[in-house]
Structures are given as C-alpha cells and as structure tokens.
Subunit: 185 residues, 2 copies
C-alpha cells in the first residue's frame, strides 16, 4: 500500500503525478526535454540510458516502462534492450553507447565516480558535449524518478507485458500533454 | 576541470544551467514548486531537507548553497542548520522535522528503505500527506541535482562564506527568473 493517499488504478509515478499536479508538469516537461528534445543522442539511446539506470536502482515500474519505450523506439534492433538488462558488459553496443552507459552507471552510484578517462573514452567514440551532458542528467534524473516511485511505495504491475501499451504511448507521444487528460480518456 | 565545456566563473549547477537552457528552465521550475510553492512545510523546513540530503551525498556546492538559503529563512533560529549538518541525531528539531529528515535520509539511499513505521512516526508528529510527498520528492530531486553537479565535475568555491550571497538571493527571490538574466546583471 502506498505511504500516502493516491488515486487507485494509477501505477508507479502516475499516481503521485495525478495527485500532485504542481510538480507533475515540471517533471514531465523535464522528461520530454531530456528524452525527446534536440540532442545528438536518439530518443531510443536516451530511453536505453533511462532503462539501464532504473534497472541498476531496481525500480521495477521505471525499468519496465522505459524498457518498453526503448523497445518500440529501437524497432528492429529492440533486442539490445533486453540484452542490456541482462548484462550490460556482454550486450552488443556501439562503442559510444558502451562508454555512455558506463558513465550513466557511475552517476547512478555517485557523480564523483565519473573520471576524465571515462569521458575521454566516450568522446573518442563520437560523443559530443551535449551527449555527455544529457547522459549525466538523464542518469541523475532517473535517480530522482526511481526514488519518487519507490519512496512513496507506489503500486506497479509485476508482469513486463503490462507495460507494452505504456511503451507504445511513450514512444509515439512522449511525455507532454496532461497526464489527467490522458488517463481520463 | 569540468568534464564538458562550461562558461567560466559560474559555480556548481549554474554552469550547466547557463550552457543548457533547454533543461535549466524545467529544473528551476521544479525547484521553485518544490521549495517555495504551496506546502504544509515552510520554505525553511524544505531548504533544510535539501541541505541534509545534499550533505549526505557530499555535494559541496548544493550543501553550501542550500544551507545558506536555509540559514536566511530560519532567521533567528538559524543555528539549527549547522547543528543538522554537524549531527542530525543530536540537532534540536521538532518531532515532525526529525521524522521527515529520517525519511529524506532513507530516500537518499534508496526509496525502498522507507517503512510504514517511518511514515506513521511523521504522521503522528503532525506531517500530512503533502508534507510526506514533498519530503520524498525533495530528497529524490536533490539526488538528481547533486549528481548533475558532481557528475560533470563542476567547479565550486571551497569556503562556506562564498555562498552567503547565494543564500540571501535564494531566500528572497527563489528559483524563478532566467539564470542568464540574473547572472548578466
């Protein structure tokens, strides 16, 4: 049971977002800018970073939601998402994404763990300043989203299949548009 | 030296905020809503939660900036800020703030650590749902801000005195208004 009174039937972050619209709008605007706005990283790559960080933090709702979005966005290459979830070390990644997921994994634990060598490796593989910035801020932001979801003990469906529709919606429509309008349809 | 190219002379989060306005606006809007918007917690209490979390994460810039803001907002009661920084267990706190700082400290580590008993203790001391929600989201948000600042290896002044003016500005003006307009004055 959630630690505070939340509307029933809204899993994970959608419950507190419905109940507290004064912060919902900024959280969704940030997600849209970070995951869909202009960047040298594709939306698929950015959703994969969000998935990897949420998985490291063991946040079931965020991991499943963003994995589902990443699968949609990767299209025919979607198996990379499950291979990263299974073992990032052996997953078939570009050198750039391998270096950026390494940075994201360190930011998840403690920002101070990121070294100049980590950043040089990403740069050598083609990451520009914007890609490095976005990787750090996506990883940092999911440390927030994950804690918001789990710190309030929100409810979430267990089975990954329950997240497919969310993934399709996030892939096609992104994070804008009122969550209240969306859920009342 | 920061991991990416940032404007010189802007410490901590102000550097990446200047360089990346597409996320700055949402980050500052979130901070304003969380730390200054309507809540059953005072701005002073909310800045103290932000300070406690930033201190736990050992983020020097965020700890010093928000401690300075909290001191201004606590006014004649300002010594509580340094006593919390020194040792939260022995600091002279209301039962409500002691219970909320306990929740914030757990969210900082992992949202799943917050127990029903932790929340009941806060409730018994007068915290309502909004106070518990805001405590969890402030703690979660500072896990983001701290990682953004440290994951990019931003520069920050060492001495606490350097943050006094920032504290006065944050206490009096909050987080809105373009950071670019503010800094170019």
């Amino acid at each position: 049971m959630p630690h505070i009174n939340l509307p029933e039937g809204f899993p994970g972050i959608t419950g507190p977002m419905m109940a507290y619209p004064e912060t919902e709008s900024h959280l969704n605007s940030l997600a849209e800018a970070l995951l869909r706005g202009p960047s040298s990283l594709t939306p698929a790559e950015r959703e994969l970073i969000a998935t990897h960080v949420s998985s490291g933090n063991e946040c079931h709702f965020c991991t499943q939601s963003h994995a589902a979005a990443a699968r949609e966005l990767y299209g025919g290459e979607r198996r990379v998402v499950d291979l990263v979830l299974n073992d990032v070390q052996t997953a078939p990644l570009t050198d750039k994404m391998r270096a950026l997921l390494n940075i994201a994994g360190k930011v998840r634990q403690d920002g101070r763990l990121v070294t100049g060598e980590d950043v040089e490796r990403a740069r050598g593989a083609g990451a520009d300043d914007k890609a490095i910035h976005d990787t750090v801020l996506i990883a940092a932001a999911f440390c927030m989203f994950n804690r918001y979801v789990d710190g309030l003990a929100t409810w979430a469906p267990a089975e990954p299949e329950a997240y497919k529709e969310t993934g399709v919606r996030l892939a096609n429509q992104g994070y804008l548009g009122s969550i209240r309008a969306r859920e009342s349809r």
